[in-house]
Symmetry: D2
Subunit: 397 residues, 4 copies
Amino acid sequence: MTTVAVPPARARVPRHPSCDHTEEMAARRREFVKRQTGADLTHVGTYSVDPASLPGNIENFTGVAQIPIGITGPLRVLGEHAVGDFYVPLATTEGTLVASYNRGMRLLTENGGVKATVVDDAMQRAPAFALDDARQALHFGKWVADHFEEIRDAAEATTHQGHLISIRQYPVGPLRYLRFNYTTGDAAGQNMTGRATLAACEWIQHHYPGPARYLLSGNIDTDKKHSRLNMLETRGKRVVAEATINRELLRSLMGIDTGHVFWSRQIQMVGSFLAGSASNGAHAANGLAALFIATGQDAANVAESHASISYSQLLENGDYYWSVTLPALIVATHGGGTGLATQRECLEMMGCYGPDKVQKLAEICAAVVLAGEVSLAGAVLHGDWVDSHERLGRNRA
Amino acid sequence: MTTVAVPPARARVPRHPSCDHTEEMAARRREFVKRQTGADLTHVGTYSVDPASLPGNIENFTGVAQIPIGITGPLRVLGEHAVGDFYVPLATTEGTLVASYNRGMRLLTENGGVKATVVDDAMQRAPAFALDDARQALHFGKWVADHFEEIRDAAEATTHQGHLISIRQYPVGPLRYLRFNYTTGDAAGQNMTGRATLAACEWIQHHYPGPARYLLSGNIDTDKKHSRLNMLETRGKRVVAEATINRELLRSLMGIDTGHVFWSRQIQMVGSFLAGSASNGAHAANGLAALFIATGQDAANVAESHASISYSQLLENGDYYWSVTLPALIVATHGGGTGLATQRECLEMMGCYGPDKVQKLAEICAAVVLAGEVSLAGAVLHGDWVDSHERLGRNRA
Amino acid sequence: MTTVAVPPARARVPRHPSCDHTEEMAARRREFVKRQTGADLTHVGTYSVDPASLPGNIENFTGVAQIPIGITGPLRVLGEHAVGDFYVPLATTEGTLVASYNRGMRLLTENGGVKATVVDDAMQRAPAFALDDARQALHFGKWVADHFEEIRDAAEATTHQGHLISIRQYPVGPLRYLRFNYTTGDAAGQNMTGRATLAACEWIQHHYPGPARYLLSGNIDTDKKHSRLNMLETRGKRVVAEATINRELLRSLMGIDTGHVFWSRQIQMVGSFLAGSASNGAHAANGLAALFIATGQDAANVAESHASISYSQLLENGDYYWSVTLPALIVATHGGGTGLATQRECLEMMGCYGPDKVQKLAEICAAVVLAGEVSLAGAVLHGDWVDSHERLGRNRA
Amino acid sequence: MTTVAVPPARARVPRHPSCDHTEEMAARRREFVKRQTGADLTHVGTYSVDPASLPGNIENFTGVAQIPIGITGPLRVLGEHAVGDFYVPLATTEGTLVASYNRGMRLLTENGGVKATVVDDAMQRAPAFALDDARQALHFGKWVADHFEEIRDAAEATTHQGHLISIRQYPVGPLRYLRFNYTTGDAAGQNMTGRATLAACEWIQHHYPGPARYLLSGNIDTDKKHSRLNMLETRGKRVVAEATINRELLRSLMGIDTGHVFWSRQIQMVGSFLAGSASNGAHAANGLAALFIATGQDAANVAESHASISYSQLLENGDYYWSVTLPALIVATHGGGTGLATQRECLEMMGCYGPDKVQKLAEICAAVVLAGEVSLAGAVLHGDWVDSHERLGRNRA
């Protein structure tokens, strides 16, 4: 064994052992940072959220990041849950983004609105069980399938909102990667499914007649990571936004022709395929990140949620059918950051706060993404993409 | 041609034609939202950032999202640019995240710190040129290679900080996808490279002896999207964080053995490969999203930046060599949101505000990611992953 | 409409309208080729297969390609179906291949043999249905799930051996990609599943209360193509071969240490992940192509079948657990080329001709692949990889 | 250390120590097989190839697999090297294949022929160097770039035909994956590049001022494996085949409309993207495997070569521009199996035997693939796909 000889590190960040979520402790930490680094955290220390509301959301609370919000809309959504004209808050520091989405929303709204549909719903935790060999693993896999009800009961005993829908199995060597698929109510559900799957794994390990070692995540969930598997099998909500765009309207509002859009679409689809991209569309991440930050979603889930599949057809009359499918949209209207001060206000602005609102929010997200796709296509083809960044963006030449 | 008959939409968001970035206009929009939706935006309207500082960052400014910041550290970084013990601000609404990263930082710091190295640097815009056929495209490709200096001059004439390093070519059918690689100084550079590449494409189109139609993006950049291409060829910074973790220290601080970690690593690497994941590690997106929001990075770039490649070896003495490579880390210390009130403070806390700081920030980002990887591995293997979310997280059963 | 003016083409290949599979017609075509191109097809015309046996296997039969066969083995297989020491025919023109596989077989056999297990079995045809919009497609998807039994009956009415196991649905926009999974007895089953799925689609189109246009293949089968989907969901057989290799035996027979193998494994797994490879192993395609050609498999299926997932662990005693999983192995012991003269002999050599032998053949295939992996690892690490190609290969410097 | 106790294996295959490539030894092995397994290898023993010609192609030569060849064509190719109407030998056991390709060839030839162009040429060996840490690896990478000429000289000293074009570097942690790109004359070049790269690595290891351990393959070549990297960066030849298909001709010969083809193309491109497929086309592997077997190519390279990228546009006049790009076509007209008896005849039939013919063969391969794509699209859309397999295929219901 080696020994470690390391110079002493700087002081650790102060914490209160029992009552840490207070303005007093936040201030103490800001002073600590000032003493240690010289940085003045005055703006960070300016906030209206109540520190006492933050246990469960943050540790070592010190203040806030203030992220500017621009309001966009109205965006007409024709969902099963979101029906009407919505004003959408986007939190971003990237100039042009709000203006661009706004332009797309205007076009889609004048065109009659965006159809939006949640077509699948499944949140995962995916443990890996290691057996002695592949034959044992095959036996184990059958046993798991045969005991699905009991495993489900063990999982669901830990949660009110989570329901175990299925366990998909992916065999490799002596391993069984199990992908537990849940619905999780209004929550995003990563913690809920983690807890439930732990209980299920413990049940399995206890009842399976033989040794069955497991890892709670074998990395096929794939939590906080884009993957082909999530694109295929859904993570969170799978949502479609679609519209048939009138040729004349597109020409008059954006100065581009649907034929030109479809020509470019062929090039971009091949480019996406060639690059091995998470999306054959343009920039879903932009709208989603801005909406996530505004509404208290987990911004790390942009990793999964930005995956998108565009499918379109040029119709015989010259109109353009355009759809975007988000296969791994992770959103919540309960839990996480959704109840915090500004985040709740932003959800309320869209009527998405409170129970049974997560499908509605998912539909709005997809409609926003479609607006961004249409707008950027217009900017690229009409040649004003760079120009608008010149006018609205921060980084001038 | 079809005609569109659509009921009238709700009112558009108010804007001031010339002077829109004021508290007055922000207040007007908050009132507008209240009138239209009933939502009170009092908290959104509580901020200290000066609206006059926001042109270039947001349109339709209405207020802010307040994202709680927790301070972590000290994290000892042994980079080429970042050298010392850093306190790192993480903005998140996800309980446990700050505590988990903090734990990993403590281990790595006590272990002697994290080596961090920026090994590549390249930001892109990637137009597609459409020629008449593949033979014309082949000819065109040679012509572009032969005129690299002139194309570079045309591109660089639009920017002080951007330098065109290379143009990579990807031929498909009659198309040439060109990937323009730039260094962009302290800026992330997406706008800079867009503008420069537009100028380059115009130069090409004007001088190439033959027709050469182009799209400014053929979707292989791949801007705001993860892709295999970015993982291979770098987008933004390619940064490595690495440490050789002492077996006894890991055991005493986290209660796990390096042999157990390496066993589980095999299962997770195969899982990631099987799933077609953007990362064979655990959760780079968590730390990066939190750091991005705190420091004014573009949160949409979590899409690209969360890609990561873990490589490790179990040494003969039982210690554990652990590295994380971020192939597409997009960060800036100039431009975008980096100069805003709270964001600047957070950069200053790490000595990352001002010129020539972007490599330093990139090194810190990678070190933070490594801390998160180590900590989560410990939690999963030691069995307290779910438990800590129970204690620190918001969603109790 | 444009018109086409093209100089006349050369003569078409002669065919007999009713009785084309004869040596007479073959000879006529060889003469035709000689007349048209000057090429003498004497060797092509030397064969013992009866032309009358070839309807269903080839059109325009003209002769044969003679592919040299080398016999390898014995290879000890401990499967559920293949149990014993097998001699394996490999048809190849690549020097070293037979010797290399033979070396691996010797090691594995002396080590106690290869465990082999078929862990999944599913052949597909995957049509895409286009509905009016995503909501219609969602409704359609539920309808299909609700009518699974009737759809299955329609499909199975066309085949004795094919059984429809499940229909997996992948929604995108207004589309439903349906992946029909079948077991297909001793046949590979692509034609069988095509016919059955056509009948199923026709049934669906006729009975579904609404318009439902379809393509018989929406390209997610993915027939004759590697894909992540096939790697995840199995195409043909999913087979595992595994062995725990004794450290001393490996050292004495191959001159390499298991620790060295495991070190290199980490590098190769990361390389495969980085490259976005169809395999994190070495060269499954080599053994499979040679075995496919010898035994009358469809060589085009090397595209799907070469995908492989290696999973290994270094045990505490220094022995090396090594597994290879082939997720998309497409083999048959009935139909296709399996009954032809030389092909049947090669199947008989392994006791794989006749009914109920396809699982056995699949197990042997996987064991052969593992032998090739072990052998190549030895060659690379021991440094005689290039050297053996010098000695045994054709292309000397 | 464990010990191995294993029952004795069956006898090893007989070999002659010095003179093994004789009919006598082949016969002895056939008898051995008969004795050991009961299988009569009479047909395997029927061949005209001279065993004395086989060293360098096979070990343990025992006989041949007879693979039926069907002649297709004429196929009009308008390449840079292949110009004229070609008859193409396809070796397959899959009924319908020859007829289907033949139909596509007829259409394309009547349409004026297929433009074919080799747009890139690069064969690889890709070692991985392991340094002490990422900073050392960065230094090493620069050193390699600075010493490219000397490394090239060391590599090229081992070969007459191989030329080292570039070394691409892919950094991960302390590793540098180096991808050596060569042109290899008329040979496929895997052995040539292996030998040359070994010499280069030895030179590097000897001259680099510091320790630099390497693996000759770090698995990013990716030899005998499909990968995204090969699709992007070319392996072997990158070839494009293209044609603008007349709408009326397509309708009259295949009974389908170009609009219908383009509609289905959108669905298939999205399907391929979704599935993470190696090809967004239909079945390149079919034609390539058949052509590879007939002409002495390495059939294992179907793994890499079947990757394909289809790009098409529907023109304003209703004609259909169709291109197929093969990014990783590995072919040879020298070395490997190209000189064997039947294989050489098949190359001669196309004027592809002898020096400087490999580009010509590559162009023909791509044109054949395009013919197969067009034909299958016709069969799927016209509804006779299954039907033709009923008529021509072996597996009747």
